[in-house]
């Protein structure tokens, strides 16, 4: 079976690892933006081919597809989906796993996603206000309170400003930051010509985050186990937002800080959103879909955002645990015969993924690029772990060079978080900078300390949302504006 993978990073490397074990013995073809040595090797070893192209260009991808004539095409990242790669391929009659551009709107436009949730009254929705016009946003922000400011378009998982503003004595300073950030963000988002609204101001919530991924053919929804990503760049959840510095999973389908009920409710939310989306765009959603969730006091399971693809690094956690024929599942989804399909996982083990990035990531990609780096892959394998190649390029001199984002992901599994943690820490140290440029990873991910902290936070949050449920306040945030009445609007600040 010929499988054509579109995409260049760690996510696509994880997908190739997952499908290589299939009884269909896939020959893997890859279209990537740069020479990712991991993807290159998977394609060469399976007798496929690799191409360095602009993966977001539908015409180029279509041309290569016609040349290869693959049995299945997997569109990995969101940008090719946004630019219509899946659409063009389907028009040409290819079997494609990956959201169409209209379905991928759920990730691309946060306004579309939020509006959909409100229109269909899906639980776990947050209050928001979106702006096309900088003047209007500027005015609004003067009166905004405890909010998050986001780009209205998906921008590589970055650009979110979380501004807890519950203390009047610091609210002027925060308003100043909000004001400046709105300006800055408008300027940045205006680069994208493919979006109407530019920024989003959203109700701030706090709690424990987790990702709920599913595979769907537009009717049937096949849930995958919950995984927790770690968006902060630095240890102990400090520092700037990244695409994810590592993730944990298991044992089984839930995480130690999520209950079965919360898992079920999460899957309901995700399925309801897919259902609403299919009705709204009148097109089946075929591909991977994920809810970036947070357990909050406002709602319990709450939607932060959606991905129209597998989460990265979340998909990497699946590499050691999936027992089913993953290629068969993707193929059945792509052919719209997912009904009856099952994913079997090893429910006894846990997995930890850690990303390693060059200093400069995520705020200064230029600074983080072009540094020679190496990994002792044999040693990592001896430890029972796997290396996934992400933002790293094979240079003409045979050395690996950083591309500015997370360079590698290390995937380890075992019987307990304690065991796996020890392993993964050893494995991560096999990645070495060759020019003394600092590289970093998060040693706290998967540690007992952080896990206990999550359990504690989740317990506190659970008490809050359960008592709010009892009082009929789930999802509500009431504000009394004298003269106007009691409003359900959590975006207003101290100064009105």
């Amino acid at each position: 079976m010929k499988v054509f993978i579109i995409g260049s990073g760690g996510r696509e490397h994880a997908i190739t690892k997952l499908i290589r074990r299939s009884v269909f013995e896939p020959r893997i073809y890859v279209a990537m933006d740069y020479r990712n040595p991991g993807l290159e090797r998977e394609s060469v070893e399976t007798g496929g081919k690799w191409f360095i192209v602009n993966t977001a260009d539908p015409n180029i991808i279509a041309r290569i597809s016609e040349e290869i004539s693959p049995d299945l095409i997997v569109v990995g990242p969101e940008e090719p989906q946004f630019s219509g790669v899946s659409d063009v391929l389907r028009e040409k009659g290819f079997t494609v796993f990956g959201a169409s551009s209209r379905c991928a709107e759920i990730e691309k436009s946060k306004v579309f996603a939020r509006t959909l949730m409100w229109k269909y009254e899906i639980e776990g929705r947050l209050y928001f206000k979106a702006f096309r016009d900088v003047e209007e946003a500027r005015k609004f922000i003067e009166y905004a309170g405890d909010v998050v400011i986001k780009p209205a378009r998906q921008a590589g998982g970055k650009g979110v400003k979380v501004l807890r503003d519950t203390q009047a004595y610091l609210s002027r300073d925060r308003t100043e930051v909000k004001r400046n950030y709105v300006e800055k963000l408008f300027a940045e988002v205006s680069r994208y010509g493919d979006i109407d609204y530019k920024i989003l101001v959203e109700q701030r919530v706090e709690g424990v985050e987790y990702t709920s991924m599913v595979i769907t053919d537009g009717e049937y929804v096949l849930p995958l186990p919950l995984i927790q990503d770690h968006p902060h760049a630095f240890e102990f959840d400090i520092g700037p937002e990244t695409g994810g510095m590592g993730s944990i999973q298991g044992p089984g389908w839930i995480l130690p800080f999520v209950t079965i009920d919360e898992y079920r409710k999460t899957i309901d939310i995700v399925a309801n959103v897919l259902n609403a989306l299919n009705r709204e765009v009148k097109e089946p959603y075929i591909g991977a879909f994920a809810g970036q969730m947070m357990l909050t006091g406002v709602w319990g399971p709450t939607v932060i955002e959606f991905y129209s693809r597998f989460g990265d690094p979340e998909i990497s956690n699946l590499v050691p645990i999936v027992k089913s024929d993953f290629l068969e599942v993707l193929d059945r989804a792509a052919e719209r015969r997912l009904a009856g399909a099952k994913i079997v996982i090893d429910e006894d083990i846990v997995t930890i993924v850690k990303a390693v990035a060059p200093a400069g990531y995520p705020d200064d990609k230029k600074l983080a690029s072009g540094h020679p780096i190496t990994v002792d892959e044999n040693r990592v394998k001896e430890l029972g772990c796997e290396v996934l190649y992400a933002s790293v390029e094979l240079g003409a001199d045979g050395r690996l060079y950083t591309k500015g984002s997370r360079a590698f992901e290390i995937v380890c599994h075992g019987n307990s978080y304690k065991d796996v943690y020890t392993k993964v820490e050893k494995a991560v140290s096999q990645i070495v900078s060759l020019d003394n440029w600092p590289i970093f990873y998060r040693s706290d991910i998967g540690s007992q300390e952080l896990l206990e902290d999550r359990v504690k936070t989740a317990n506190r949050i659970r008490i809050v949302y359960q008592s709010r449920t009892k009082n009929g306040l789930l999802g509500k945030m009431l504000v009394w504006v004298p003269g106007e009445g009691v409003l359900n609007n959590p975006l207003i600040g101290f100064v009105r």
Binding site: V160, K161, V162, L163, R164, D165, T166, Q167, Y169, L170, R172, D173, E176, V177, N180, Y181, K184, P231, H232, A233, F234, E235, F236, D237, I238, G239, P240, E241, A359, G360, Y361, D363, D364, L367, A368, N436, P438, F440, S443, E449
Partner: protein
């Protein structure tokens, strides 16, 4: 004794003046009415003042290290420049090796391409079991924070994706709207720059406990120290004190404002009412931290206007956290006797007698004026005009320390550790 706070905003949109101001206010009780701030604005700039409004005269961009302090300013902060390297170091308490340390550090930074390693190695070569904590700012906008030993805590906090806050006390992180992320381990350090935050593991010769005064007196009731709630710990010591009660009493009061939770714990345990007894005038002042005896007595007097109705004619248990010179308690007993007219005073001190100097300079105790080191129990009772005087024993403190999983330095009480294996 100082309180340290350090703030690093990864994003240049912030002006930190107000944030530094409220952060310092939150740890004000740890030092004195003076503070020092070092910032980076094309160059390292340090300023000190007694007035928080002065902070606004300075433009604080995205980084600051700061402290409230009580010693002369030249001991609290040292700024040195050699070649291209300029460094400011804030010491949590006077450190005689600080100049040598800075010199070595600058040499290491000059000769090592890996700056994180240079910091780590230099700190390692100076680390002892009782090193003071340090906050370091460089002219490359790097901040290094080091919890020098177990004696005094440091807490790591974060604010959204924007900021890292490190403070001697968790309350500063609360007050700035941040989240407490971690109680740094003894010897643990942090390297923070625009593109990096790394934990520095420093060889740590474990054996000094946490300064007992941190939980006994220094930290605010709302603070969490090394994972332990100060308030709960104080209530537990108050409960422990009731073992020494052998009289009938009517009410329980605490010496404001530190001793209130001790009195609450005591009252809860014996089922007698806890009463408010004294109301302070002016802000909260830490009388014990004044070194000028006149200032100290002024501060005590301002805290002690009695609520007569709750105490008149009663048999009163009065609880305090510690007794140094006894001057506070003498004042209290005189007020209770002559202005209120109580029937009996039973004094309970939630710590053992203070009999030795602090070898680490955390508490500045003058041996000649330490009550317990100079007066017998009987003399003390008559001087203080109390009907009975009780202290927690070393065993009592040891028990409570173990209950909370803490180990304390007990040198000023005449022993190595509370909460250790042996006593």
């Amino acid at each position: 004794m100082n309180g340290i706070i350090s703030i690093y905003a990864f994003d240049e949109l912030w002006n930190l003046s107000n944030i530094v101001r409220y952060g310092l206010m939150a740890i004000q009780h740890r030092g004195f009415q003076q503070y020092i701030v070092c910032t980076y604005n094309n160059d390292i700039e340090c300023f000190s003042s007694e007035n928080f409004d002065d902070i606004h005269k300075h433009d604080i961009r995205n980084v600051a290290i700061a402290a409230t302090y009580s010693e002369p300013v030249e001991e609290a902060v040292i700024v040195e420049k050699e070649g291209n390297e300029k460094i400011a170091v804030i010491c949590e308490r006077p450190w005689n090796k600080v100049h040598e340390f800075i010199h070595e550090l600058i040499n290491a930074l000059k000769s090592n391409r890996n700056r994180v390693e240079a910091f780590k190695n230099t700190i390692n070569s100076f680390a002892t079991y009782s090193s003071p904590s340090l906050a370091i700012l460089t002219n490359r906008e790097e901040v290094v924070i080091w919890r020098g030993s177990r004696l005094t805590p440091l807490i790591l906090g974060g604010y959204g994706f924007d900021m890292v806050i490190v403070s001697s006390e968790s309350v500063a992180i609360d007050i700035l709207g941040g989240d407490v992320k971690r109680f740094l381990k003894p010897g643990e350090g942090l390297y923070i720059s625009k593109h990096m935050l790394k934990t520095l593991s420093i060889n740590h010769t474990n054996d000094c406990g946490l300064c007992f005064f941190e939980l006994l007196y220094l930290a605010r009731h709302d603070a969490i120290v090394d994972g332990v709630s100060v308030y709960e710990f104080r209530k537990a010591l108050g409960e422990e004190l009731t073992k020494h009660l052998n009289n009938d009493v009517d009410v329980v009061v605490g010496v404001p404002e530190t001793a209130l939770p001790y009195a609450i714990g005591f009252a809860n345990k014996i089922g007698k009412p806890f009463e408010m007894a004294f109301i302070a005038t002016g802000g909260r002042r830490r009388s014990m931290l004044f070194s000028d005896p006149f200032e100290k007595i002024v501060s005590i007097h301002l805290k002690m206007n009695p609520i007569r109705s709750s105490l008149e004619g009663k048999r009163v248990v009065i609880v305090d956290d510690s007794m140094v010179t006894g001057s506070t308690m003498k004042t209290v007993s005189q007020i209770l006797r002559f202005r209120v007219g109580v029937k009996e005073i039973h004094l309970f001190i939630a710590s053992p007698p203070l009999i030795k100097q602090c070898p680490f300079n955390i508490m500045k105790l003058d041996m000649s004026s330490l009550l317990a080191a100079n007066l017998s129990q009987e003399h003390a009772k008559s001087y203080l005009e109390v009907d009975s005087l009780h202290w927690l024993s070393k065993d009592d403190v040891n028990r409570v320390a173990k209950m909370f999983g803490l180990r304390f330095c007990g040198r000023c009480f005449g022993l190595e550790l509370f909460g250790g294996e042996e006593i």
